[in-house]
């Protein structure tokens, strides 16, 4: 390109060369474009089908002479033409049918790219021809339909037809399989929904039953305040309902948690044994009341041999009576002591 040459030569004026060379280059390109477009003109014109556009183009540009020598065409046609005059020449000689309408008119305003419309038009044309031909050939007594027992080589081999059949079967099975899979998928999705709905329904039912029972209880209570006579029966009803509810809803919890406020049984026991909260120091030291409390003291027990601490420091082992009562548990001893 000229621009690059300038770069090489005009090193001194390198500042200017930038813009200049740019211009020159573009100018050159422009010229190229001009030449190209002149070459292209024919093609552009060729690709345009509209007649007014053609006229415009013709006015603007040079155009290749169109050759359509109708006389010569008709002359050469006459030279080779077969005689297909209907009525004179039997149809069976040529078997050609000219459609009553052009395919373009049959296609209407559908575009050429519209595969379906186009193929339909083609098929309709061929269908019309087939019907006409069949009628004409039958009239002429030419066999048309292939008898069922006529076997001969076909255009497409059996292997090809087998392939076609296999492909069709494959397509059908694929379609069926995909439909089935979709159905399953839908079912799965739907099944989940069903499950959730069922759970919700159950919960709702339960809530309703409970609320109904509560209402019933309330109503009974109100009725009870009015008529005291039925008190006992109502209590029984309440107990029954409570039991029922407790059994159904909280049975498990109650067995695990014990009576007191849901705390575990062991804790409760330990609490009663060791106490909880408050000061721990001096809790077991005696005070005025404890020293004044002589409830645990009994002279009888002091005198009896089986009493007191068994095997205690001061006690005689295996004393006196021979028959020794077994030592009871602490609480029972306490109770016994009170007596």
């Amino acid at each position: 390109m000229i621009g690059y040459d300038n770069h090489g030569i005009d090193l001194a004026g390198i500042d200017d060369s930038d813009s200049d060379s740019e211009f020159e280059k573009e100018d050159k390109d422009d010229q190229d474009d001009g030449n190209d477009s002149e070459d292209e003109i024919d093609v552009d014109d060729l690709s345009i089908s509209g007649s007014e556009d053609e006229e415009n183009m013709r006015a603007l540009t040079r155009i290749r002479e169109t050759i359509n020598n109708k006389d010569a065409l008709l002359a050469s046609l006459k030279r080779i033409a077969l005689d297909v005059t209907p009525g004179v020449v039997p149809f069976a000689v040529h078997q050609s049918v000219v459609a009553p309408a052009t395919t373009e008119s049959a296609m209407g305003d559908a575009a050429v790219d519209d595969d379906l419309a186009r193929e339909l038009a083609f098929m309709n044309q061929a269908m019309g021809a087939a019907r006409t031909a069949r009628a004409l050939l039958r009239k002429e007594g030419v066999p048309f339909t292939r008898p069922v027992d006529y076997f001969a080589e076909t255009l497409r081999s059996d292997a090809t037809m087998e392939l076609v059949k296999a492909k069709m079967v494959e397509e059908a099975t694929a379609k069926k399989a995909s439909a089935e899979a979709r159905k399953l998928r839908d079912l799965k999705k739907f099944g989940k929904q069903i499950q959730v709905a069922k759970q919700q329904e159950r919960a709702k039912e339960k809530r309703e039953v409970l609320s109904k029972i509560d209402q019933l209880k309330k109503k009974r209570k109100e009725g009870a305040s009015a008529a005291l006579g039925a008190n006992e029966a109502e209590d029984m009803f309440d107990v029954a309902v409570d039991n029922e509810l407790g059994d159904s809803s909280k049975g498990k919890k109650r067995s695990a948690g014990g009576d007191s406020g849901g705390r575990p049984n062991k804790r409760v026991k330990k609490d009663t044994k060791f106490g909880y909260g408050g000061k721990k120091r001096h809790a077991k030291s005696g005070d005025a009341t404890s020293s004044g409390d002589l409830s645990a003291f009994s002279a009888k027990r002091m005198k009896s041999t089986g009493g007191g601490r068994p095997g205690g420091a001061g006690g005689k082992p295996g004393g006196g009576g021979g028959h020794k009562a077994p030592r009871l548990g602490k609480s029972r001893r306490k109770v016994a002591g009170r007596k």
Partner: protein, 315 residues
């Protein structure tokens, strides 16, 4: 037209195609056609398969080996004569992708050159139709073929080449397929359908009723059946390019103005891609020029203030 031809055919039969119309008497005129089918070198598998499909459909054809030359096509005339063919269907492949098909009546022409597009062979189209090998097709032509002289010539060639002559050696006695030739968008679309006879279903539409009437009047006591079509293949589209008066030679008597060569299409595509760069470069240049005029370029001198400048006038 045909009547005129009939009157002229007697003297013309001697100098023109002698073997075309066998005997001289018009009553016993025989349609004798034989087609030489061959391709050039450099055809793709698809071109070759299409050629094979066509050869299989035409029992009156003679398939030959690939023809070596692309420039000396007149040699095909001698070749055809050698095989006693009066038609030549020559597949010329270019650049390993474009297919041109020449249809020629051999000794005296005319010759039509087509550009073949949208080729789909019988094998790759998984249509369910099938027909007897060598059965005579019904040729279905669009009405457009009767409206233009060049299309008339093309129709005649199709009639000779695709129509299997009556009593051809390997032809079958029944008719079970239709070849459709339609003109849409300046191109000739070729389809091949199997004709199946089906039980007539009642009250399907006007077409059926019409066919009913036709059946009653023409078929008479024949069983009441209707035809249905199932496509067989192949499919292809031919764009006529030129018609020559002779066989692979002679003056051009028709040229399709709307034909755009595939080379041109490809180069246009490439050029439109290159055009994007050009447009961008041009924009850049305009921008530079504008800045230069305003004296904003670092190298350029400040804009000279002439006598009619706004600043000078309204000073």
């Amino acid at each position: 037209m045909a009547a005129v031809y009939k009157t002229l055919s007697k003297p013309g039969a001697k100098d023109a195609d002698g073997d075309k119309n066998g005997s001289g008497t018009p009553g016993a005129k025989r349609n004798k056609q034989k087609v030489l089918i061959l391709s050039s070198r450099g055809v793709t598998y698809r071109h070759r398969h299409l050629l094979n499909d066509l050869a299989a459909m035409l029992p009156h054809s003679r398939k030959d080996v690939k023809f070596d030359s692309k420039s000396k096509l007149y040699q095909l005339n001698e070749l055809a004569e050698l095989y006693n063919c009066n038609n030549v269907m020559f597949f010329e492949a270019r650049k390993g992708k474009d297919l041109y098909i020449w249809f020629s009546k051999v000794p005296n022409g005319p010759t039509v050159k087509f550009h073949a597009q949208n080729l789909h062979t019988m094998e790759e189209l998984h249509f369910t139709g099938n027909c007897l090998k060598g059965s005579r097709p019904v040729l279905s032509f669009d009405l457009a073929f009767e409206q233009e002289p060049h299309l008339k010539v093309i129709k005649e060639l199709f009639l000779h080449m695709f129509g299997v002559p009556q009593g051809a050696r390997k032809s079958k006695p029944f008719i079970d397929h239709v070849m459709g030739f339609s003109v849409v968008d300046g191109k000739i679309w070729i389809r091949n359908y199997e004709v199946r006879e089906v039980e007539k279903t009642k009250g399907e539409g006007e077409d059926e009723k019409e066919a009913d009437k036709a059946g009653k009047t023409k078929a008479g006591s024949e069983k009441e059946t209707d035809v249905s079509l199932v496509e067989i293949g192949p499919r292809f589209v031919l764009t006529p390019i030129v018609i020559q008066e002779g066989a692979f030679g002679g003056p051009i008597i028709h040229e399709n103005k709307r034909f755009v060569s595939p080379n041109q299409v490809r180069s246009d595509l490439r050029r439109s891609k290159a055009g994007r760069h050009n447009a961008r470069a041009e924009q850049q240049r305009d921008h530079l020029a504008k800045r230069g005029n305003l004296g904003l370029l670092p190298s350029g001198a400040a804009k000279t203030v002439d006598a009619l400048d706004t600043r000078a006038v309204f000073a």
